[in-house]
């Protein structure tokens, strides 16, 4: 009886797992097939003779530029976000001043707002300062819009740092800057790495800002770039599949290595809200 119950539970969990994973496996297989194979065969079949040419075709089509843009924009925005958020969180949680609660509240307000409500004014601002179709607009928007979540994740850790650490540093004659950069930042490494990963995922996947602010191909990131590609490969399913795999592979690889960090970050970013 107990065994039967367990089996049923496992079947339920297994079905959910199949539903979650199967479309991705299907994507990997059809990225290696020809149209004939995809259209005639059954969707569960593995590619008999993997068509790596599909990937070659996509790289020759110039996906490399989008890929590179995604990488550098993700990295630069993430570093800036985590640094700026760490500084702000430090001042809010460790320094003594009356308005710290208010400042925290203002930063946290950013969590609630729909970005579409700010999109037209943002576009107009960037237009006025000549930052439309300039990757700088993307980087500073990413930094700004990820600050609230980053501060939120850091906040919990910063409030637990023992006062004695700061006291010892100050008695030793260290300046606040030195204390922040050579003591606080290093001890916050574990939580910082969580925010780094969360930021990277957000930035890598962002779509609306790039789609709105960037028009030249040379500045587009993968999320918008793959739209062009797919438009141009209309009926070539293999090439479309390869494009999608290239765009999601870095995230999946990162997940294989950092799954615990990622799960921790996602949990932290949600529950405290």
């Amino acid at each position: 009886m107990r065994r039967l119950g367990l089996t049923i539970l496992y079947i339920c969990l297994g079905l959910v797992a199949v539903f979650q994973i199967f479309p991705i496996i299907w994507l990997f297989t059809f990225s290696l097939k020809t149209n004939q194979e995809i259209f005639a065969g059954n969707p569960f079949a593995l590619p008999l003779d993997p068509k790596w040419e599909n990937y070659l075709k996509v790289f020759e089509g110039g996906i490399g530029t989008y890929f590179w843009n995604s990488i550098w924009i993700t990295v630069v925005a993430t570093v800036l976000t985590v640094l700026i958020a760490s500084m702000a969180t430090f001042a809010i949680t460790r320094m003594r001043w009356k308005l710290s609660g208010l400042v925290l509240g203002i930063i946290m307000m950013g969590l609630m707002i729909p970005i579409h409500s700010a999109l037209i004014p943002l576009y107009n601002m960037f237009l006025n300062v000549n930052l439309i179709d300039n990757p700088l607009s993307i980087v500073i928007t990413y930094v700004t819009y990820n600050l609230p979540i980053t501060v939120m994740i850091l906040y919990g850790f910063y409030t637990t740092i023992p006062r004695e650490i700061e006291e010892a540093a100050i008695i030793d004659g260290s300046s606040i800057h030195r204390m922040f950069f050579s003591i606080i930042l290093p001890i916050s490494m574990p939580i910082m790495s969580t925010t780094v990963i969360i930021n990277m995922i957000y930035n890598w996947n962002e779509f609306v800002f790039v789609n709105t602010f960037i028009s030249s191909d040379k500045y587009k990131t993968l999320t918008v770039g793959i739209q062009n590609f797919i438009g141009q490969y209309m009926t070539d399913w293999g090439a479309i599949g390869a494009t999608l795999v290239i765009s999601v592979l870095p995230i999946i690889i990162a997940f294989l290595f950092f799954s615990n960090k990622i799960m921790e970050g996602i949990t932290a970013s949600a529950v405290k809200g």
Binding site: L9, Y10, L13, Q20, I21, P23, I24, W26, L27, N42, P43, A85, M87, A88, A91, R94, M95, R96, W97, V103, I106, M109, M112, I113, H116, S117, A118, L119, I120, P121, Y123, N124, T144, Y145, E166, E167, I170, I176, F180, I201, N205, F207, V208, T212, T223, I226, Q227, I230, W237, L244, S247, V248, I251, F255, I262, I266, T267, A270, V271, G273
Partner: protein, 295 residues
């Protein structure tokens, strides 16, 4: 300790450390929100001069059938999303009940959440492809003669879009519930077992009440999140066919960046903000509780 107090309340340092964050958030989030309301008072194509027309845009919006339709779709998605949370909680309850292999399962569940909405949308466009997609291939091999053209069908499209939304977020909510369930002290559950409670009773009487706080937070998250849905829908259907899957954000985006009606688009964007804030407050109130759980 005086020196400590003095150093740690150095105004200049506080200013320096918070300035970048405050400045960015003020300039790129708060001011644009106010400007959105202000631009909503204008007749404006985004390039030429603005012409002040008072509340006209807002009045037009309130009589705009397309806007109400998109709002209805947004709220339908929000309600669906809210209801689907019950399913995620059920899965998390099974997952957290000391089975083996759950760590791997949680990871598998989470993978779709990490992919970009654009990639998810493109993948599901293929899944739903009427003649060669995964879904209809399966249906046809099961003997269904005329499977529907999911994304081109006025009546089915919203439902068809909701499936990848579930697909994307299921792992996220399951993960959150799982973490909350694992926080329940083992001793409580052991005590109930000794008293002869069945697994179902333990789930209903102990586990669910104890994760209720987290559940309420996720109701707010999913409800408010749904009102902002954009990427996936914009890429999958562009709001079509005939507006059958238009949501508030996609309607606003089209007005601004396809029709260049920046004034009206801003008004819709501002209404989106107001609606989101009201809903946030209402849902928070409705799910608020004053009990603090202490173990």
């Amino acid at each position: 300790m005086n020196i400590m107090n003095k150093v740690m309340s150095n105004k200049w340092i506080i200013f320096l450390y918070t300035l970048p964050a405050i400045l960015l958030i003020a300039v790129l989030i708060l001011i644009p929100l106010f400007l959105s309301g202000y631009f909503g008072l204008m007749k404006w194509d985004g390039i030429g001069a603005m012409e002040f027309i008072g509340l006209d845009n807002y009045i037009v919006a309130l009589q705009d059938a397309k806007f109400w339709q998109s709002a209805k779709h947004s709220f339908l998605l929000a309600i669906f999303s809210g209801l689907s949370l019950i399913g995620y909680l059920a899965v998390a309850l099974i997952l957290a009940s000391k089975l083996k292999g759950t760590n791997l399962l949680r990871k598998i569940y989470l993978i779709p959440m990490l992919l970009s909405s654009v990639a998810i949308a493109q993948l599901w466009i293929k899944v739903y492809n009427p003649s060669n997609g995964m879904l209809n291939s399966i249906l046809m091999s099961l003997g269904v003669d005329n499977p529907p053209a999911w994304l081109a069908d006025n009546d089915l499209v919203l439902f068809a879009i909701f499936v990848p939304i579930i697909w994307q977020y299921a792992g996220f909510y399951i993960l959150i519930y799982y973490a909350a369930l694992k926080n329940i002290p083992e001793s409580l559950i052991e005590a109930a077992k000794i008293d002869g409670a069945s697994p179902l009773q333990i789930a209903m009487k102990i586990k669910i009440p104890l994760v209720m706080n987290v559940f309420k937070v996720t109701i707010v998250l999913s409800f408010v999140g749904s009102l902002k849905y954009f990427d996936l829908i914009y890429v999958m259907t562009g709001g079509g066919p005939n507006g059958a899957s238009e949501v508030m954000a996609s309607y606003m985006y089209k007005l601004a960046f396809s029709s260049y009606d920046f004034g009206y688009g801003s008004a819709i964007g501002f209404l989106l903000l107001i609606i989101t804030l009201i809903v946030t407050i209402v849902v928070r109130r409705a799910t608020a509780n004053n009990e603090e759980i202490q173990y």
